[in-house]
Amino acid sequence: MAKSKTGRKILVFSILVLGVGALAAVAILKKREVVITVQTEKVARRNLTEVVVANGKIQPVVQVKISPEVSGEIIELPVKEGQQVAKGQLIVKIKPDFYIANRNQAEAAYKSSLASRATAEANLQKANAEFRRATELFQQNLVSASVYDEAKAAHAVASAQLTNSTHQVEMARASLASAEEQLAKTTIVAPLSGTVSKLNSQLGERVLGTVQNVGTEIMTIADLGEMEARVEIGEIDVVLIAPGQNVQLEVDAFKNRKFTGTVTEIANSSKTSPYSSSQQEATKFEVKIRIKEKEAFRPGMSVTAEIETRSRTNVLCVPIASVTTRLPKPKETKGNPSTATNASSSHTNPAAPNPGTPSPSTNSSPRPDKKNRDAVKPIEVVFLKQGDVAKMVPVKIGISDDDYWEILEGLEEGQEVISGGYRAVSRDLEDGKRVRLGPPTGEKTEGKEAAEDKRK
């Protein structure tokens, strides 16, 4: 019994020691190499459409803000927000009492000036007759030169008084016209047919005229039949925008619907906010997009615009995630483009590609010190899977859409490029590193779902 137990113990311990020893030996002797898990995709020809995405608001193409030219109390406001109005329809009436009195006063002044002019005319006729008589008598030496001079002066004075009266009449007439104009402005009519899109004032409210200062904005009338999207686009992208480009629009209020539009205007000057520091805030330009579809849009609705800036047909493409940047090796070999442009280790790569060109989205390498950054600029590269190693290939990229980059130089159709994972492409991969295909943990099912969503 004791012997069998001892034998059992020896057997068990022998198996354990041998098993563990063998594993340990393999673990010690095995050549350990870092193998990076990657996903790949073939270089293929596709049609690409580059889009610039921007957010903004929907606004009517024609929109008029109604402000009174005269101040006073609103005594009639026969419209409501959202109401349709016709051109020439009364929309606001301001209390006219003060302006009627002004008109009456001006009218009286005008009539008074007319009377003054009539008096001056009579005086001139009288002075004229006396002057004629004095002239005849003076020529016959029947009156002295003094009498003649007096008659002459009286005639000149009467003539001047008539001129003055005439001007007074003109002044009074102008005052009357102004007073009548002011009175007329107490009644405001719609300048266009449209909808009252915004009503700020109420009946009985006192409003300020715009003659000398900023007046009260009583309401806004807009033609909602013609709507446009006003979106803000960054300075990097605005140079790609041109009038006439097609736009796909998504309005938050109309879910699962896409509208179409055309770029009509691009602002020449950037939009600046008086409350923000221009150094911290990105420079934006307003772009107007005319919406083709007629729908019950309301001014101020949020919109996302995808402006189709450039498109290419049947061009070589790689997944957007496969393009990254690396610093080229400092020593270049002439005559061999593949080795000449090989990049150095990703650990010394800067984050930013050449300014002015759209940067590959996967670029996120650590920044080098300033001296190195000034000396060499990063280049766009992709990694090819050749067997079980990665080969870095510098490429020249063209346009991109949400999923793919156009490749202008560096690749051929059918080559297998490494398209993921993110960390592998952006940091870990180097020329000659070992790789193996494998779905990243937890991404397999999601990838299928994402593809399914996209197809839908």
Partner: protein, 244 residues
């Protein structure tokens, strides 16, 4: 039987060791020594595993993928995403290392008491036998020697395969183990050394409660299976919930 004899004989003649434990008086060494040994082996194993560049790469990839999933769920700019990546990668790796060293230290002492409580309650309520609670703790503590062996084997397998999730189970057949895949998690339950550990615990329970090994094993394996599958199911349910 001396403590070293118990620790070593447990691998070959567990019934003899458990008989000795059941007959003899209380001895704290029966559970403290294996716990300390387990901590030591786990720490050495963690150090060895984390010193491997291939494992570091794998750990980075797992952390990175988890971060990418988070980023994909929340709409953020590339700059914000990069900040999140840098912070999460740094703290994710630190967190993994800290848990690899801290978890064995806590579990080595907690498991004998938790599983001891399970065995003690089973003895009292299922088998209607009274035995001291600390005897159950000693049984579970001594069985932890199999855990020590499992840790050594798992560490060596990780070093050999370069797979952080390698274990003496059907997981070895998988090329890409996905911790979020319930099927993969179920395969991980086929760890033969864990089964051995459970069998030794069942031997201890059989000796303490004076019942057959088959009855004790049925209960021990049943409870373990219930707990393990419910954990896998809970993980699956949480995933489904978050996906919605």
């Amino acid at each position: 039987m001396s403590l070293p004899s118990r620790l070593f004989n447990l691998f070959a003649t567990p019934g003899e060791v458990m008989d000795d434990v059941a007959r003899s008086g209380p001895a704290a060494g029966n559970w403290v020594a294996p716990a300390l040994l387990l901590i030591l082996v786990s720490w050495v194993g963690a150090w060895l595993v984390f010193s491997q560049p291939a494992i570091q790469q794998q750990l980075s990839e797992i952390t990175s993928q988890a971060i990418e999933k988070q980023i994909a769920g929340q709409k953020m700019s590339e700059q914000q995403a990069e900040q999140v990546r840098n912070a999460a990668e740094k703290w994710g790796l630190i967190g993994a290392k800290v848990s690899a060293y801290a978890a064995p230290a806590a579990l080595a002492f907690a498991v004998p008491f938790l599983w001891g409580l399970v065995l003690w309650l089973m003895g009292r309520n299922v088998f209607k036998r009274d035995f001291p609670f600390m005897k159950a703790v000693e049984v579970v503590g001594l069985a932890a020697m199999i855990d020590v062996l499992e840790t050594i084997v798992r560490t060596l397998l990780i070093l050999v395969t370069g797979n952080l999730f390698a274990s003496p189970s059907l997981v070895l057949l998988l090329r890409n183990y996905d911790p979020q895949n319930p099927v993969h998690n179920l395969l991980a339950l086929t760890n033969v050394l864990v089964w051995w550990l459970l069998a030794v615990r069942a031997v201890g329970l059989a000796r303490l409660a004076a019942v057959s090994f088959a009855r004790a094993a049925a209960w021990v394996f049943g409870i373990w299976l219930l707990y393990s599958t419910s954990m896998v199911g809970l993980g699956f349910a949480m995933q489904a919930l978050f996906k919605r």
